[in-house]
């Protein structure tokens, strides 16, 4: 009997035939205690304070109220950056998702028998995944200059790493029977993959890619902050000028776009499975 059980006594149930079953007391108090301690420690470390939150919160609502009513005359100037944002996310997602396919295959241990190769490709995918998209966009602006090209690249890199990781995990859970049948009738491993594994993973692959695209539209709107084009660019500018009513207009447009794309992608994904 552990220390915990001695404090919180287990309950005993006696069955009609005399057998005794012990039900241990719930661990909830212990878990609550641990969570409380962790919260206390993190408040200490991060210097979190409620008074700052309250006064800052006040300021947040001031800005929020300044955004209304949104400046509708600013609307015509939003279309171009909005299209840039959508183009960046669409193109970036597409490039990233396509590029991830060969890497996902190489990272799937049920398809590639060379352990070392699988390990190296997976390591590469993890490394790329740890690179924050903003940092990636920043680097891209140094290479391609300011503009949507940099944003597209950043999104492609993120999509590549995310879809690549998801896809190799999908490939590994696939039914290997048809693959074995293909090998038995004289196909190479690559032929067997295309004919038997690919049809199985295709719906999930498309679904994951679309899901990634949904998130990318939101990402793409932030990327402007580092000069990578799109809505973020003008948003940064308008916040700088304290033109909060224009910011409100941008946010509304972004909101509607994100909802529309999520709705569309959700509908498509539903039909895939």
């Amino acid at each position: 009997m552990s220390f915990y059980d001695r404090i919180f006594k287990p309950r005993r149930h006696t069955l009609s035939n005399g057998k005794v079953v012990e039900e241990r007391f719930t661990r909830l108090p212990l878990i609550m205690l641990i969570i409380l301690v962790c919260t206390a420690i993190s408040v200490r470390i991060t210097g979190f304070s409620f008074s700052v939150l309250l006064s800052g919160g006040q300021r947040f609502f001031d800005i929020l109220f300044d955004m209304f009513p949104p400046n509708t005359s600013y609307l015509p100037k939003i279309w171009t950056p909005l299209l840039d944002t959508i183009k960046m996310s669409l193109l970036g997602s597409f490039i990233g998702a396509v590029l991830s396919i060969p890497f996902a295959i190489l990272a799937a241990s049920n398809i590639v028998t060379n352990r070392a190769l699988v390990f190296v490709v997976r390591l590469f995918l993890s490394l790329v995944r740890t690179l924050p998209t903003l940092v990636c966009a920043l680097i891209a602006t140094y290479i391609f200059g300011l503009g949507t090209m940099a944003g597209t690249c950043a999104i492609a890199v993120f999509t590549f790493a995310y879809v690549g990781k998801q896809l190799f995990e999908i490939i590994e859970t696939v039914d290997m029977g048809p693959f074995e049948a293909m090998e038995a009738l004289g196909a190479t491993r690559l032929q067997a993959f295309i004919a038997s594994v690919f049809p199985q993973v295709l719906p999930s692959y498309l679904s994951v890619s679309l899901f990634c695209l949904e998130g990318n539209v939101r990402y793409a709107s932030i990327l402007g902050y580092v000069g990578a084009g799109g809505l973020g660019l003008i948003m940064n500018e308008k916040i700088g000028w304290r033109e909060y009513s224009s910011v409100g207009m941008i946010l509304i447009v972004l909101f509607v776009t994100v909802i529309a794309i999520e709705g569309l992608s959700h509908a498509v994904r539903k039909r895939l499975t």
Partner: protein, 252 residues
């Protein structure tokens, strides 16, 4: 012709799969292999098309020493041998005809495989194979919408589209109900008699084996304990095949 000459197989973990197998199967024979679970039936079958390597002896198929094959030669060799599995191993998300067309994949250029662009004559071959097993009308239905018996027929059609000289079948009717099992066994008999394809088939139903196969091979603990016409299988033979396995180490 398939010839096992003192063939043994020990798995990497030390399990004995086959022990000193001597066997010769003529073209056009219909052979059923019976034995307890773990006796080595699958191992025997899978060494014929080198899905498993043997560790001792020589195995000759159509005059080729199987152990010497590798890479491209091995794949070309496998094209001449069909294989049917207990779990059908169809790609469930695609149509029946695409599953059958898979048999043509090894002969196609890479871009055609990638785009799924099959040639007309391949499609005709596939449809004819489906016709031979009596499910031509199901050609454009998704494979997972068929019953087990129909799926096994698709697998059989896929094998026929390979135009094989030998068909290996690993418990092809184990997942089917008794009536469907008989129908599929009759398909095998027809393919064997009409097309002259040799058939090697693992099976747990002794009655089905005796009814449909010409020759029975009984395996016990990796060794052949009976090899003869199915008509001569009697209770003594079955007792020898299905007796308790002697624990390893006590064997003399």
């Amino acid at each position: 012709m398939i010839v096992f000459d003192h063939v043994s197989k020990v798995y990497p973990n030390g399990t004995v799969g086959l022990k000193d197998i001597n066997l010769s199967i003529q073209d056009g024979e219909f052979v059923a292999i019976i034995g307890r679970s773990g006796a080595g039936k699958s191992t025997l079958l899978r060494s014929v098309n080198r899905m498993h390597d043997i560790t001792e002896g020589t195995l000759t198929v159509e005059g080729v020493n199987v152990s010497t094959l590798k890479g491209k030669e091995l794949r070309r060799f496998r094209r001449g041998i069909g294989m049917v599995f207990q779990s059908f191993n169809l790609v469930s998300r695609t149509t029946v005809i695409r599953n059958v067309l898979a048999a043509r994949v090894p002969e196609m250029p890479f871009w055609r495989v990638l785009l799924g662009a099959f040639r007309k004559e391949d499609k005709i071959t596939a449809l004819e194979s489906l016709d031979k097993v009596g499910i031509l009308d199901k050609a454009y239905i998704r494979a997972d919408q068929l019953s087990g018996g129909q799926q096994q027929r698709v697998a059989l059609a896929r094998t026929l589209a390979q135009n094989p000289k030998i068909i290996l079948a690993d418990e092809p009717v184990a997942a089917l109900d008794p009536v469907t099992a008989k129908q599929v066994m009759e398909d095998f008999v027809r393919i064997n008699k009409e097309m002259g394809i040799s058939i090697l088939l693992n099976i747990h139903h002794v009655e089905l084996a005796i009814e449909y196969a010409d020759r029975i091979i009984g395996i016990h603990a990796g060794q052949i304990v009976y090899d003869g016409p199915s008509k001569e299988v009697n209770q003594d033979v079955l007792d020898a095949i299905y007796k308790e396995a002697v624990p390893q180490g006590k064997q003399t």
